[in-house]
């Protein structure tokens, strides 16, 4: 795949000539914090999963820039449709980490009440729309939300994140097409990590790049170095401003690499060698840290202190998450409809009558993918 990549920081962490981040020192450090937090959370959750303490996890190691750089470009009133591989976006957008951990334990403190698998978050307060497993479905929903924002004359825009595999979905096609025709204030963010489970990008599409797909929908498509958090921020910010100004949608391709397994159930050695190794050197966190150090915004001491702080925070969240009880039996029957209809009430009551309320979790069950 060809075409130039937008960059702001060089691969060795130098500021590229003529490129300015347009962010304050605090903001830059804040972004670094979110990226590191994401990485540490990842490591911890994968660990918990290996120990059988949570059922499933989706790591995003190596993709932190694409998550935090995009998140930084949005305003509070904007709506974001995340994918399952963007914890950093949640953290940067201010979601409390213990709420994310609660979701992974599926306990009663989980805002989704343990109804979905881990990492299928929903945070209405931050306008972070409910994630589901089927790939792509949220892309057209994002277009619809953007159409609604335009119709209501609101100031917000909508952003949606999906992967290279997601571009093959039906709803990528309709989402891009609807947004294009409506000139809806929508930013389409394709994190091209070059793999859809075991399927490499060349088997996903014959198009020259993912960005070029924008041409089919009459919108600009831009290819960005997805491991350069400031390039991601810059491109997303411009696309967001364009949308906010009423100039319509944009597609961004954020080029990065899925360094880890697809999920805790996946074994990538089955389908790729040690390709991932070459991407270790391109680590987005290291690159940004070097940049901050070059700018005298970061030091070894600060790093150590931050690591300690973040780990303690994660520890506390895990402790809290693991000790919370599972959701009550009623929660299986509520929220199917706004009000529980008689036939569901009857099912609930029969269940309680026949089996009581003390169902212990099944220790043998494990998610195989």
């Amino acid at each position: 795949m060809s075409q130039d990549l937008l960059q702001v920081i060089s691969e060795s962490g130098k500021a590229l000539k003529g490129k300015k981040p347009g962010l304050s020192a605090d903001e830059l450090v804040g972004m670094y914090r979110s990226m590191l937090q994401t990485r540490l959370l990842d490591e911890r959750m994968i660990n918990l999963q290996r120990q059988g303490r949570i059922g499933f996890y989706v790591p995003s190691t190596g993709e932190e820039a694409a998550q935090v750089g995009t998140a930084m470009a949005f305003e509070a009133q904007d709506w974001v449709y995340p994918s399952y591989r963007v914890p950093g976006l949640f953290l940067q957008r201010g979601v409390p980490i213990d709420k994310m951990v609660a979701n992974c334990f599926g306990n009663e403190a989980d805002l989704c009440l343990g109804r979905q698998m881990p990492v299928h978050y929903a945070f209405a307060e931050q306008h972070l729309v409910s994630i589901s497993s089927p790939i792509g479905t949220h892309i057209i929903q994002a277009a619809g939300t953007a159409m609604a924002q335009k119709l209501k004359g609101d100031d917000g825009i909508t952003a949606v994140m999906f992967g290279d595999g997601g571009t093959s979905s039906n709803d990528f096609h309709s989402g891009m097409n609807f947004a294009g025709v409506a000139r809806a204030p929508c930013v389409f963010l394709c994190t091209n990590n070059q793999w859809a489970i075991s399927v490499p990008q060349e088997k996903q599409t014959a198009s020259e790049t993912f960005a070029i797909k924008a041409a089919a929908y009459g919108m600009p498509g831009i290819r960005v170095d997805g491991n350069d958090v400031l390039a991601v921020y810059d491109a997303t910010k411009k696309a967001a401003e364009r949308a906010r100004a009423g100039d319509g949608p944009t597609l961004l391709e954020l080029l990065t690499y899925r360094r880890g397994p697809h999920s805790s159930s996946d074994d990538p050695t089955r389908y790729r060698g040690n390709q991932a190794d070459s991407w270790m050197a391109k680590d987005p966190i290291l690159r940004f840290r070097k940049y901050l150090e070059n700018q005298d915004l970061w030091s070894e001491a600060q790093e150590a202190e931050l690591q300690t702080e973040l780990k303690a925070e994660i520890n506390a969240a895990v402790k809290k998450g693991e000790s919370a009880p599972q959701p009550s039996l009623e929660t299986m029957f509520t929220d199917v409809f706004a009000n529980v209809p008689p036939f569901l009430r009857e099912q609930y009551e029969q269940l309680v009558r026949d089996e009581g309320t003390g169902h212990e979790p099944d220790p043998d069950a494990a998610f195989p993918l």
């Binding site: 805002l111 979905q116 479905t137 609604a148 119709l151 025709v181 929220d335 008689p342 036939f343």
Partner: protein
Amino acid sequence: MPEITLVQAVNDALKEEMRADDDVVVLGEDVGVNGGVFRCTADLVDEFGEERVIDTPLSESGIIGAAIGMALYGLKPVPEIQFADFIWPAFDQITSEMAKMRYRSGGQFTCPMVVRTPYGGGIRGGHYHSQSPEAYFTHTSGLTVVVPSDPYDAKGLLKAAIRSPDPVIFLEPKRIYRAPKQDVPADDDYVVEIGKAAVRREGTDFTITCYGAMVEVAMKACALAAEKGWEGEVLDLRTLVPLDEQALIASVTKTGRLVTLQEAPKFSGYSSELSAIVAEKAIDVLEAPIRRVAGFDVPFPFTLEHVYMPHAERVLKAVEDVMTF
């Protein structure tokens, strides 16, 4: 009260709700200047503009998916699918997304929206302009499924559906879109409650369950049965989910005999659920087998449509079966 057709009733309901609530929007193929291929959205674009009456690209998953995104944001979209037969590209959005949104997000996000679509046979439309897909939706937890059988209900139920906090599949029996006309209240506050069946004819000897265009067929069959001295009760279900189970059990308890009637293919059809409920909860009141009259288990034909569609004489045969068991 004005005398109107079912098409006009749908149109009136949309107009009234759009006037009352700026958040109500209509979208679909040809719903704008063309007013819908059946004219259900006629003139809406003139009154409410292209922003609220949206001609979309040709994509049903796009229509429903975009509507979901609108609903999540706070609008009340009323998407139209041109024919129910074309709803399948949107089935993923309907079953995986719209139906489960409230549940999976712990009530944080909801999809108050109404998917309107003409369904059913009787217009010589062949495979793809005739099907009755209700069973696919009634098996999908989280969906409310409504089927009016006359203009009065069409208007009142559609208005109630638009005001519902839950996603509603609203199936319009296209065979009776234009006849017969009926007096329908012009009152803004007029709604028909979702979840209540209607007894269209009282009887003591047998019950026929039905909905949509089949109500008329059931009424005719009862008229024929009455000539033989058998008085049938016609239960128009109106809402398929949540079913008015009480009304069903009450009627069967009274008559002791049940004939179910639907246009859709028989096997695994909606009426099978009615049989199952009665066989589970009221089997002791039954004086005869439950007979099902339904479409045949074949794709909807073109030339032989008139043979395919259940008609009064066919229902009468079933009535004879249960009455002479």
